[in-house]
């Protein structure tokens, strides 16, 4: 495939969902089957094209190879903004992920949403979402990244609120949008900072600028944190994670597509894509936020009984993993985990949908023994579960293991062990809650007989996606870690010297050897990246070689790194066994009654069940303050500003000894204020106007004398 062909097909991929949106939105009602076939077929086509691009890059097998094209969008002379498309390995993978999940979700929805009164709207919105998501993936500059970023937010708003006649849904979508806006605030400021300092928003030009030191120090750190805020919002990291669980109010296919597989991953993609823009400080923030999220979310998932919510919190914790990996400087494994996670989490949600579809309830307390009723669902669900739990041989294992490895390596070199520990703990919890779910829902006796009797396996258009995704969630890893497996053909750590070489900026400074150095000194990604990923990456390695320096440290660090990975692997395997075993012990053999455990750990349980009371906290602080403040402003406007002249009014009143007529109007505004005052004055003067002639004469003659005297004096 030629470069042009790649670009063209990328644009076609971008255009197809948009077209599908327009068609379904405006003509859906009139079309047969309300036009759902449009969405499905278009996405199918897009999927095929994506596969084609994917294969092309597979052949190229050079992560640093990229195709880019842009045009001037706004030109004011002296100021211009560009729009452009960028396709490289990472894009190819993301295209693949998005189109795959999207396509199968479309297909699945034809069954799941069947008979909904806004059926066509649903497909329209799906199309719109896919379009904006692909926009994020394909954009080659921050401005349009932000544009599509917001559009994704909109489509998520529309889809979460799809059943807007429910109060819960109406609240959820508002919450999602606003929480994201908070993140976007930082994101936008970050973008502004970069634009005003570097004068460009194109990714690679920015990298070059950063590398050349156009922007650095505190500014870079803050800008990085700003960008990361965007990620915190979109990828639902603490403390802005609150919207994601509520987002489950949307139809299940939406949860699968948007709130598990793709959109929430956008934040991770963004950070990975812009990795070189993150200074050491920023990355430190990223690391901790990620790891904390990973752990906290996992703990909550353990106690939830709502099928979808358990999955939602597991999504949170998995996103936490990805972010943590970014923080540890390992963008590659983050992307790798993103990919595999998209597959199995998408799958899990779809199976959840299938179950809910059958049982008409989301509470696992209403389920049980479903494996006999719906085998396909069960087995695919198992595939997903195993992958998510990180059982060796399944996709999740390799990606998660890579992340833990990097985290440990980072700890060993830099002394920050906490993230790794949190990660490991989460790694125990993940299999535990997943198998808890499995045992409660699919094994044991049915909790609700008559629900159970109505349960049935879903139609083909729902099961086919399950099977395909099931397969992918097993195989998507290729049974290899990121740096050995297929993934290394698509994503490599950034090689700044190479970037810099393209834009003839100042020659890059010497490459430091150690992660330590990376995190303490100016960002030099190539070194970091290559070490953390084992160092036999084409780009990174050459970079290190051509600025041939510090080979000794190099080797030393490589050793540390290798050790880290081995240990991490062993530990995580242990953890998995521990987790699954625990679940088996409690929920299958019932050796231990969870209820009693709850009673014993009442405090802990309530905190977890209450999701650490984040919502309550915000409700008590942020929301209340905002509303209160709004009320204050409005009151101020109504009474103070609108009555401000009453000060002057008072003086005028004194001057014209007007009676209390004025007070009545005090509140009533500047204009009334003045008017009344003047009227008051009039009242005063009118007293002079007694109809008596003598008084007139006295006044007049008196004023004559006054005049004379005054002017004598003057």
């Amino acid at each position: 495939m030629s470069d042009n062909a790649i670009l063209t097909s990328a644009l076609i991929i971008l255009g197809l969902p948009l077209l599908s949106y327009v068609l379904t939105f405006f003509f859906g009602k009139k079309l047969p089957r309300k036009g759902d076939f449009i969405g499905v077929t278009f996405m199918g086509a897009a999927w095929l094209l994506a596969i084609r691009i994917f294969l092309t890059f597979w052949k190229i097998a050079d992560p640093s190879y990229r195709v880019e094209a842009s045009f001037t969008w706004i030109d004011l002379g002296g100021f211009h903004l560009d729009a452009g498309v960028l396709v490289d390995g990472m894009t190819a993978v993301m295209l693949m992920v998005v189109t795959t999940v999207s396509f199968f979700v479309h297909l699945y929805s034809t069954g799941y949403m069947h008979g909904d009164r806004r059926y066509e709207r649903f497909f329209a919105f799906l199309g719109f979402f896919t379009f904006s998501m692909l926009g994020i993936v394909l954009s080659n500059n921050l401005f349009f990244l932000y544009v599509f970023w917001e559009l994704v937010g909109l489509s998520s708003y529309l889809l979460i609120g799809f059943f807007f006649h429910k109060h819960s849904a109406a609240n959820a979508n508002k919450k999602a949008f606003l929480t994201n806006r908070v993140g976007d605030y930082g994101f936008w400021l970050g973008i502004l900072t970069f634009f005003t300092t570097c004068g460009t928003l194109n990714y690679f030009e920015l990298f070059a600028h950063v590398h050349a030191g156009t922007i650095g120090g505190h500014l870079l750190a803050w800008a990085g944190v700003g960008l990361f805020m965007g990620c915190v919002g979109k990828s639902a990291q603490m403390p802005l994670h609150i919207w994601l669980p509520d987002a489950m109010e949307g139809p299940t296919p939406v949860s699968a597509l948007i709130h598990a597989a793709t959109m929430v991953a956008a934040g991770v993609y963004m950070v990975a894509r812009l990795f070189p823009l993150f200074g050491p400080t920023a990355l430190m923030v990223v690391l901790y936020v990620g790891s904390i999220t990973a752990f906290v979310a996992a703990t909550i998932a353990v106690v939830k009984t709502d099928f979808k919510r358990v999955l939602a919190f597991s999504t949170l914790s998995q996103l936490g993993y990805m972010v943590m990996s970014l923080g540890a400087g390992d963008s590659v494994n983050a992307m790798y985990h993103l990919t595999t996670h998209a597959m199995f989490k998408g799958l899990l949600f779809l199976t959840a949908g299938s179950v809910i579809h059958a049982v008409h309830s989301q509470e696992i307390t209403d389920m049980g023994g479903l494996r006999r009723k719906m085998p396909i669902t069960f087995w695919t669900f198992m595939a997903g579960t195993l992958a998510l739990s990180g059982v060796p041989g399944f996709a999740g294992f390799y990606s998660k293991d890579g992340i833990l490895g990097s985290a440990l390596a980072f700890g060993m070199t830099d002394g920050h062990y906490i993230p790794f520990i949190l990660g490991i703990l989460a790694a125990v919890l993940t299999p535990f809650y997943m198998f808890r779910l499995t045992f409660r829902a699919f094994f044991g006796k049915p909790a609700d007989q008559e629900r159970f009797d109505h349960a049935h396996e879903s139609p083909w258009n729902m099961t086919v996606p399950l099977i395909v995704l099931g397969f992918l969630s097993i195989a998507s890893s290729g049974f290899k870690t990121a740096d050995e497996g297929w993934f290394s053909r698509f994503a490599a750590p950034y090689d700044l010297p190479a970037v810099a070489a393209q834009f003839d900026l100042s020659t890059p400074p010497a490459v430091h050897g150690l992660v330590v150095a990376h995190h303490r000194a100016a960002p030099d990604i190539s070194a970091v990246a290559e070490h953390e990923t084992g160092g036999h990456e084409t780009g990174g390695h050459e970079a290190a070689v051509e600025h041939g320096e510090g080979h000794g440290e190099h080797a030393a660090h490589e050793a540390i790194h290798h050790k880290a990975h081995v240990r991490a692997m062993i530990m995580s395997i242990l953890m998995v066994i521990l987790g699954i075993g625990g679940a088996w012990w409690v929920y299958f053999l019932h050796k231990l009654d969870p209820a009693s455990l709850q009673r014993r750990l009442k405090g802990v349980y309530t905190v977890l069940q209450g999701q650490y009371f984040f919502d309550e906290f915000y409700a008590a602080t942020v929301y209340r303050f905002t509303l209160w403040w709004a009320a204050v402003c409005a009151g101020f406007d109504r009474y103070v500003i609108d009555g401000i002249v009453n000060g002057t009014g008072y003086l005028t009143r004194m001057m014209s000894w007007a009676s209390g007529l004025f007070d009545r109007y005090v509140i009533d505004g500047m204009v009334n204020g003045v008017a009344t005052v003047l009227q008051g004055a009039g009242e005063g003067f009118r007293r002079l106007q007694t109809g008596r002639i003598q008084t007139y004469l006295v006044y007049s003659s008196a004023s004559v004398l006054v005049l004379i005297l005054v002017y004598k004096v003057l």
């Binding site: 009242e683 002639i693 007049s700 005049l707 002017y711």
Partner: protein, 509 residues
């Protein structure tokens, strides 16, 4: 020997005095005519008066169009007919004519129980004549005579409704207050005469320039004279009579009072003070004489006081007629602004403003007359919904009020613009700002009327039947509306008229 002044004048000069002659004739003929019909067939004095005014008017117009640069002295040095006199003559005759025509349809004047209706008409003619003379006088004797003439006629007219308490009371106040103030002025005149030894303005100027007067004496005289004149133009603090008289007298007469005597007073002031104090001095430096006793500040304070006082009081009025009375006082304040420095620019602005003011103020008053015919009331509450009962007249009233308030695109705005410019040019900023603030206040009470007429919804069961106005009323109002609009957007020529009038004002001989 000054007695020579009373020689029989030359006809060539008398020719330029025809309008006044005609007016005098009209008065006599109408008087006799009314006696003949014993006040029964009123159309006779009406017709005579109208005819007379039209004739005089056409002569006056001809004179203005002719723009004769030479000044004709009438009766020796007593009077002069020059550009300015011509300008005012036109103004007065127009006012008189409009009043007469409108009065013909006014219940207050022509109501059934009125006797001696004819009286109104020939008195108007006489008043017009007296006002013209005021504009022409250039000698203390004539000054006093004409002022008294206008005064006497006004006293009688104010008491037109013999049986009405309000009317009688108004006239009583008018006469007493008038008498006193003219007496005070006369004393000032005598002092001035004593200091300069001359009765003619020119002579007085010569005397003053020769340094005949010490500042304090001059100040005293000037202030005393100013009292009399401020009384005529109803400027604070000599305005007390105005609201009562305007309210007490029949509305058409109030309309006449609020325009005619005011304008005449200004004419007199301009000629007297400009000639005696300002003229002949270096225009660049303004004048030395007026600088001697701080004349500008004196007038400026008066002007500011008038504006503020009148506007503040007007705010609270609920009787439209009385409201308009105060508004006319406030306009005196604006006009006085142009008087502050006695510069040509300022005086031109005054003349133009008077022109505009005549149209808009007459219009507003006449609307009140027309409404009074139907509602027998000038109360604001009774005006509710009028805008929809008489849309066309209502629209015209809005134009008049808008113009009085001085908002574009109406003539009043242009008038104010010229005054402001004249004052700002001499950098009297505080005065301009006072005026500006006042024009905002003014808007509020003018639009109280508009609000009542258009915005306020009439109460349940209130009479909302359409009002049919007399065709003559529509005509006159229309005639007044047109210039109020036109002068707002195309005023070049008319301003030129005013400028010419000032330019052709004779100060010498």
């Amino acid at each position: 020997m000054e007695l020579l002044n009373l020689n029989i004048p030359s006809w060539s000069d008398m020719a330029s005095w025809i309008p006044e002659a005609v007016l005098a004739g009209t008065f006599l003929v109408a008087l006799v005519g009314d006696l003949v019909v014993r006040g029964r067939r009123t159309w006779l004095p009406f017709a005579i008066t109208v005819f007379g005014l039209v004739t005089a008017g056409s002569y006056a117009v001809a004179a203005v169009l002719h723009a004769d640069p030479t000044a004709h002295s009438i009766m020796g040095k007593l009077m002069v007919v020059d550009g300015m006199a011509g300008f005012f003559r036109l103004l007065f005759i127009f006012t008189g004519l409009a009043t007469v025509l409108f009065a013909w349809t006014s219940e207050e004047i022509m109501g059934h129980k009125r006797e001696n209706k004819g009286e109104f008409y020939y008195l108007t003619a006489l008043m017009t004549l007296a006002m013209c003379v005021m504009a022409e006088a250039r000698d203390l004797l004539m000054l006093f005579l004409s002022m008294e003439g206008v005064g006497l006629v006004s006293y009688v007219m104010a008491g037109y409704m013999r049986t009405s308490l309000r009317s009688t009371e108004a006239s009583l106040k008018y006469v007493i207050f008038g008498a006193v103030s003219s007496a005070i002025m006369l004393y000032g005149l005598s002092l001035l005469y004593g200091m300069t030894g001359s009765l003619t303005f020119a002579g007085i100027r010569a005397g003053l320039l020769a340094g005949a007067a010490n500042p304090f004496g001059l100040l005293t005289a000037a202030v005393l004279i100013l009292v009399g004149m401020s009384y005529k133009i109803a400027a604070v603090p000599f305005h007390y009579w105005a609201p009562d008289v305007y309210e007490g007298a029949p509305t058409p007469i109030s309309a006449l009072f609020s325009v005619g005597p005011k304008a005449a007073g200004f004419a007199l002031m301009i000629r007297f003070f400009y000639t005696t104090l300002a003229a002949g001095n270096d225009p660049a430096t303004g004048s030395t004489l007026i600088a001697d006793f701080n004349w500008p500040l004196l007038v400026a304070v008066m002007s500011a006081a008038t504006m503020i006082y009148a506007n503040l009081v007007a705010l609270r009025q609920t009787n439209v007629k009385r409201l308009l009375a105060y508004s006319s006082i406030s306009h005196v304040g604006y006009i006085l602004m142009g008087f502050v420095l006695l510069t040509g620019q300022g005086l031109q602005a005054i003349l133009f403003y008077l022109l505009v003011y005549t149209f808009m103020n007459l219009g507003a008053f006449f609307f009140v007359v027309a409404i009074n015919n139907h509602l027998k009331s000038e109360d604001l509450q009774d005006y509710v919904g009028l805008g929809f009962r008489a849309p066309w007249a209502g629209a015209m009233m809005v134009i008049f009020l808008g113009s009085l308030a001085g908002i574009p695109p109406f003539a009043g705005f242009v008038g104010k613009l010229y005054l402001f410019t004249a004052v700002m040019d001499k950098q009297w900023f505080w005065l301009v700002i006072v005026a500006a603030v006042n024009s905002v206040i003014g808007l509020y009470y003018y639009f109280k009327v508009v609000k009542a007429m258009f915005l306020t919804r009439p109460a349940e069961g209130a009479d909302t039947s359409p009002l049919k106005l007399h065709w003559l009323q529509y005509t006159v109002l229309g005639v007044l509306t047109v210039p109020t609009l036109v002068l707002g957007i195309y005023f070049g020529q008319f301003k030129a008229l005013a400028d010419q009038a000032i330019a052709l004002m004779t100060v010498h001989m």
